[in-house]
């Protein structure tokens, strides 16, 4: 049975976490959990896109005056959120009232759900590696 060093394990966990951030569900995909990966990808992308549809891309206000907790939650989305944040600098896509609030809630929740899946995928990877190492 193969033995893995602590460094290799840490790198593997980091890769799983980073992949899970870049593409929702990719962390599970790497672990062979394809059903989980497809469901997570679909649910998170749909939630994020629905938020953008309701409030427009203006709800991604990473470099503006939005509250810090909004920005932190939205950054947990895939990096496309950061790209959109650059487009919306300077108030190019103004959005106010309920569409703004609902859109922000959707994009924040999709980011936090992605964070939940990243943490869970890294934990599963830790368990798998521990089992493989006979630990």
């Amino acid at each position: 049975m193969p033995r893995y060093s602590k460094e290799n394990k840490a790198i593997f966990l980091l890769v799983v976490g980073l992949l899970g951030w870049v593409v929702p569900g990719a962390g599970y995909f790497v672990l062979g959990e394809k059903k989980r990966a497809i469901i997570v990808f679909t649910a998170i992308i749909l939630t994020f896109c629905l938020g953008l549809y309701i409030g427009s891309i203006g709800v991604i206000d990473l470099f503006g005056t939005s509250a810090i907790y909004v920005k932190v939650a939205q950054v947990m989305n895939p990096p496309v959120a950061i790209v959109l944040g650059h487009y919306t600098v300077g108030g190019n896509y103004p959005v106010y009232g309920w569409p703004n609030e609902i859109g922000q809630v959707y994009t924040m929740i999709s980011g936090l759900l992605n964070l939940l899946c990243i943490v869970n995928a890294v934990y599963l990877a830790h368990l798998y590696r521990t089992e493989m190492a006979g630990g």
Partner: protein, 83 residues
């Protein structure tokens, strides 16, 4: 770029018209569904279609029922205070 692509992209640059109406509360349903689905994905040890749909539906129903209960309590409180 095709007209359909332009139309789809344009729909993401203008916000929808959503007023402060009771019907606007229905926007919580897709969000509750997404939360139920993703949470159950992380919790179930094995994913099978029947079991997963059942568990996610139960959680979705629980969330909606709890929100309705909270709304009724808040409505009753507001009614008692203002009457």
């Amino acid at each position: 770029m095709s007209i359909i692509t332009v139309f789809v992209m344009a729909s993401f640059t203008v916000p929808e018209k959503i007023g402060a109406e009771p019907q606007s509360m229905l926007w919580l349903l897709p969000l509750a569904a997404a939360i139920a689905v993703v949470y159950k994905v992380t919790k179930l040890p094995t994913i099978t279609a029947g079991n997963f749909i059942k568990e996610a539906a139960i959680l979705f129903g629980s969330i909606v029922v709890f929100i309705i209960a909270v709304a009724l309590v808040l409505y009753a409180s507001a009614w008692l205070i203002t009457e």
